[in-house]
């Protein structure tokens, strides 16, 4: 007898809850996930800022490049951190490592899938950017008031070309897949390094997960 759709949905929701609880039961996971999100938002945001604002000449607020990057990346960080918090455990569960060693191939597959899904999620980014922080929006006006207008950008804004949001979205995903995959890999490597260094500071006894050796009676 097959389970009803309602039962299957309930079972699936329960499984997801278990996966999230299990992944975030370790404090390391929170810090690492937020760090990955920050790297994707600010470093990835920097590359995407170059693509859209500098190379493609999007019609954003007439402020300096640094301020514009900071504004867009911070918006991206706030909006996309929940996505990263869900993606990291979900991909790990879906790939089903099942306790096997995290070798190069598995880590490579993991970062590519995370990078690809993250790039797809950011696909509508240019459209949302124009709607939320594009030239003339309340947020863009506020940013211009706070940071002050950049004369070069004001001049450039007057002859900014009209771009299709679809084309910008496709470019975002196409460049995003390798960029976000590499940045996910770099941030995982950085977290691993920090963990290794903190272990070294705590002494050789902390180098491995506790085993029988620690249970003398």
């Amino acid at each position: 007898m097959t389970a009803s759709p309602a039962v299957r949905v309930r079972e699936s929701a329960r499984s997801w809850r278990r996966v999230l609880r299990s992944f975030y039961s370790r404090p390391l996971a929170y810090g690492a996930a937020v760090f990955v999100s920050a790297i994707l938002a600010y470093a990835g945001g920097g590359i995407m800022f170059w693509l859209h604002a500098i190379y493609r000449g999007e019609n954003g607020p007439p402020i300096g490049h640094w301020q514009h990057w900071l504004l867009d990346s911070t918006l991206g960080f706030v909006a996309l951190t929940p996505v990263v918090l869900l993606l990291l455990p979900a991909v790990l569960w879906t790939l089903g490592w099942q306790g096997r060693k995290a070798d190069g191939v598995r880590v490579g597959g993991y970062v590519v899938v995370v990078g690809m899904l993250f790039a797809l999620v950011t696909g509508p980014g240019p459209l949302l950017h124009n709607a939320i922080a594009g030239a003339g929006t309340p947020l863009a006006n506020l940013a211009t008031d706070v940071f002050g207008p950049d004369p070069q950008m004001v001049e450039r804004q007057t002859d900014a070309p009209e771009r299709s949001a679809f084309t910008e979205g496709v470019l975002q995903v196409a460049l995003g897949i390798p960029v976000y995959s590499l940045l996910t890999l770099a941030s995982i490597a950085a977290v691993r390094r920090v963990v290794r260094l903190s272990r070294r500071d705590r002494g050789p006894g902390a180098a491995r997960a506790p085993t029988l050796a620690g249970a003398g009676r």
Binding site: V19, Q98, G99, A102, R208, P210, T211, G214
Partner: protein, 136 residues
Amino acid sequence: MIRSILVGTDTSAAATMAVDEASLLARTHGAELVVLYVRPPVDAREVFDPAGVPDVDRHFEGLADRLSGLRFRTRRESGDAAATICDVAEEEGVDVIVVGNRGVHGRRRWLLGSVPNAVLQHSPCSVFVVDTREAQ
């Protein structure tokens, strides 16, 4: 009459105290001991801290020396720790489950719940709770 005992381990020092206590109980009653390791559905350490992931093979090899002269088996399952311990106890038809009283704590306890509490509530047989505070 105790013929078989199930003890859960996460390879920690506290869990090993519970295994020791279970082995004592098994020796006293001439019972078989089943040592169960339950792997969580996903473990963030697999991605961010591979060196921190327990080496279950090594742990079970160490058990072989520790439990010499005793009839014992090891099992590995994946899932929620408490639920899996109860399921395996039912499947194996064990007479007693042995658990440590202090497994996870802090945020992990809040998220995962207390394994011994959940086992006590849902166990299909008697439960022996070992005081493992010494190993914390």
